[in-house]
């Protein structure tokens, strides 16, 4: 099947096309991108009116949790990949806190081969920095990398012992591996369930002091300076963290960072009435923090936005707040929310799209070719005109725990992988 998109807004950060134009896809390859392409309409050609539609090449989600626990490994993974496909997310950077934990090359290879077999969205796994994520012994990083790991992460865990952390930095630096780190000082974040501030105080929920994030980032920056390691900090949540990263970048520290879509769209006020759907990690912070994160997006301190997709069984949310499990199932709302952030904060589409495509691809050292001609392109079509509301019945992901319970403007309607249309809405 050949496709001709007429007058569609193309946002390609690779070739820096950001205009309304026509796109011709023939034999799964991008044949041409220019205005007024005309071809003979045959049975084999679909012409799609590009009104209200946006074409975005290969969307990369730099933080998601695929869970895939135990023997249900394949089933759950399939479901989540299907959900990502429907959501237009074509590359998933998955963290090693799966069950089993990704600390052996065979597990990495296995995960990659499953996602390849599905001929679906691509999984780019991060391997564990330390064995079993325990923070005690380094995993076999070299072998894991050869197995296909695109970097190394401790997922939600931190390495408490600074001497081991230093070794991880030194070793990663030796081979130019990137360390993906969450800033979450464990003694300050243990047994906390919300931002430590007025809302948590009123509700009597044990709050996490921002210091847990701030001092950890300071530590990472000092270690990176010392070892020259490449680090990526996942899911920043505090105003102060932005300043630290900004300063480090100006001092040429090898540092990048991302922010969860949750922290760009929700605040601590959303946990009122003990709303466990908004029990998230990192916790939702204040309005001030949210404003600072958006500023960080604008001034390029923040390189990427992640979906922070985290499927949790609803039973684990139907509990008193502190007993409930953190996380929100975000694949299916992600692109709508990214555009919402752009619209509400006057961020140019071309800029915000970089945070979910070329920037994260660079962070995992992937070549990003966007809509390069004569390639089998992977891309997503987003329709701005569809208004919808997330609900349990229409959610494909195994996680029905959606924190974002409000009206969405726009929806992914088509996903193309390697030039093939793999998902179509309705």
């Amino acid at each position: 099947m050949n496709y001709l998109f007429k007058n569609i807004l193309v946002l390609d950060p690779y070739s820096e096309i950001n205009t309304i134009t026509d796109v011709l896809l023939r034999n799964n390859k991008i044949e041409d991108i220019k205005k007024n392409i005309s071809i003979k309409q045959t049975k084999n050609t679909k012409i799609i009116d590009g009104k209200d539609k946006i074409l975005i090449p290969d969307i990369v989600d730099i933080y998601c949790d695929l869970k895939s626990p135990g023997h249900e490994y394949k089933d759950i993974l399939e479901t989540e990949l299907k959900s990502a496909l429907k959501s237009g997310l074509t590359t998933l950077v998955c963290h090693p806190n799966t069950e089993p934990i990704l600390d052996e090359p065979s597990l990495i290879k296995n995960l990659i081969s499953i996602s390849k077999k599905e001929d679906s969205v691509r999984v780019a796994p991060l391997a564990a920095i330390t064995k079993k994520l325990e923070g005690l012994q380094l995993a076999e990083m070299m072998e894991l990398e050869q197995g296909g790991a695109v970097g190394f992460s401790q997922a939600e865990n931190s390495i408490q012992d600074t001497s081991i952390l230093l070794k991880a930095f030194e070793y990663a630096s030796t081979f130019d591996f990137t360390l993906f780190l969450r800033a979450n000082e464990s003694s300050l974040s243990e047994n906390t369930y919300a931002n430590e501030s007025q809302v948590a105080t009123r509700l009597g929920i044990k709050g996490q002091n921002k210091l847990a994030e701030i001092i950890e980032i300071q530590k990472y920056i000092e270690l990176a300076k010392l070892t020259n390691a490449k680090i990526h900090i996942s899911k920043l949540s505090c105003r102060e963290s932005i300043g630290l990263v900004k300063k480090a970048k100006s001092e040429k520290v090898n540092i990048t960072c991302d922010v969860s879509i949750n922290n760009l769209t929700l605040t601590e006020n959303d946990i009122d009435n003990y709303n466990t759907l908004c029990h998230l990690q990192p916790p939702l912070r204040s309005v001030k923090d949210k404003t600072a994160l958006i500023q960080g997006l604008k001034d390029h301190t923040i390189d990427a936005i992640c979906s922070d997709h985290c499927p949790v069984e609803l039973d684990r949310k139907q509990l008193p707040f502190e007993e409930s499990e953190p996380g929100s199932s975000n694949f299916e709302t992600f692109i709508s929310l990214v555009f919402k952030v752009a619209n509400e904060n006057k961020i140019p589409y071309s800029e915000i799209i970089k945070k979910i495509s070329i920037n994260p691809a660079n962070i995992i050292k992937e070549k990003y070719l966007g809509m390069k001609k004569n390639t089998k392109a992977t891309f997503t079509i987003f329709d701005k005109s569809i208004i919808w509301r997330p609900n349990v019945a229409d959610t494909t992901s195994s996680g029905k725990n959606i924190a974002h319970q409000y009206e969405m403007n726009g929806k992914v309607i088509m996903t193309f992988i390697n030039g093939k249309n793999k998902y179509k809405y309705n």
């Binding site: 430590e196 501030s197 007025q198 948590a200 105080t201 009123r202 509700l203 009597g204 929920i205 044990k206 709050g207 002091n209 009122d272 009435n273 003990y274 039973d315 139907q318 509990l319 008193p320 707040f321 502190e322 007993e323």
Partner: protein
């Protein structure tokens, strides 16, 4: 709270989950209803039949004989049947969810659940997830609220001081972990107290406490200057383990209420304590046994307040 399931049509009480979210009219109605229950124990028949044929279930996920007993007396004075259930949290956390536990109990056809739980928001969670005919009273949840205690403390104040709108009130102790403090603060704000002070070391002061409508003080002497009422909080022993304060001895020296410090307050100052008191830790015996201390009268007011809450919850 934004969506308030505590209040139903006609500004009537639907559940009592927190003072936060109530309004002046409801609190005044609880007080005037409590007035009608004072001195019932002095009658020939020490009961009224308002809740005859109703069942009150004391659902205690956290042990507290004292609190449970006051609810039990209150329910019995209203002629209700009382079921007491102590569910150890340890066995509960192993498997059975709180909702399963509660759903099993609904088969007993209770009309009111009095819930105490170590998790903040647990009574709210139960109220939201059960049959709307069943009313829930929060008897203390985690670090959140203990609304009947807050009501009885302010009710006691109303018996000794004329107008809330001219009072200076200080709450002293572990504000951070105290559900009593949160309920008291919310109630005093609704009743229009112009100056509420909270006094504690920084380790026992919650974040952004000013947002609750109080003025924080770290120094007991400054905090007590010119106050009409001192509301003491009990210091839990386990606070020492987590390095929040060095020792009971040092706490008593810095935040313990003794007669000398109390002199800084108004001459007719009253001192409240939710009990049981740690003499020589948060309060000196000379104060506890003085004319300023209203520790015993609070107990009978507590029963009247709890009767009032139960009676009002049964209104249609």
């Amino acid at each position: 709270m934004k969506n308030n399931i505590q209040i139903k049509k006609g500004n009537k009480l639907n559940h009592l989950l927190s003072i936060d979210g109530l309004n002046l009219e409801i609190i005044q109605k609880i007080f005037s209803t409590a007035d009608s229950f004072l001195n019932i124990e002095k009658r020939d028949v020490k009961k009224v039949p308002l809740l005859r044929g109703k069942t009150v279930c004391n659902l205690f996920f956290e042990n507290s004989t004292r609190t449970r007993t006051t609810f039990e007396i209150a329910a019995k004075r209203l002629s209700a049947d009382v079921i007491n259930l102590n569910i150890a949290t340890s066995s509960q956390s192993k498997g059975e969810s709180i909702l399963d536990t509660v759903n099993n109990l609904i088969a007993m056809h209770s009309d009111i659940f009095v819930v105490r739980h170590n998790q903040s928001g647990a009574p709210y969670f139960i109220a939201k997830n059960i049959n709307p005919d069943i009313k829930v009273i929060n008897a203390g949840d985690g670090n959140h609220e203990h609304p009947t205690q807050g009501l009885l403390d302010t009710y006691t104040i109303s018996k000794y001081k004329k107008d809330f709108r001219s009072l200076k009130i200080a709450i002293v102790g572990d504000i951070k972990h105290s559900r009593v403090a949160r309920s008291e603060i919310a109630a005093l704000n609704i009743l229009g107290v112009p100056e509420i002070r909270v006094i504690a070391p920084k380790t026992l002061m919650p974040a952004d406490v000013e947002n609750l409508g109080v003025h924080p003080y770290n120094d007991l002497k400054y905090g007590l200057k010119g106050v009409d009422v001192v509301m003491m909080l009990r210091l839990q022993k386990e606070r020492m383990d987590k390095a929040l304060i060095p020792s009971e001895h040092e706490y008593f020296k810095t935040y313990g209420l003794n007669m000398n410090i109390l002199k800084l307050a108004k001459n007719d100052v009253i001192v409240l304590h939710p009990g049981p008191m740690n003499r020589g830790v948060e309060i000196d015996s000379t104060v506890a046994d003085s004319k300023h201390a209203l520790i015993l009268p609070q107990v009978s007011y507590g029963i009247a307040i709890r009767m009032a809450v139960m009676a009002l919850l049964m209104e249609k």
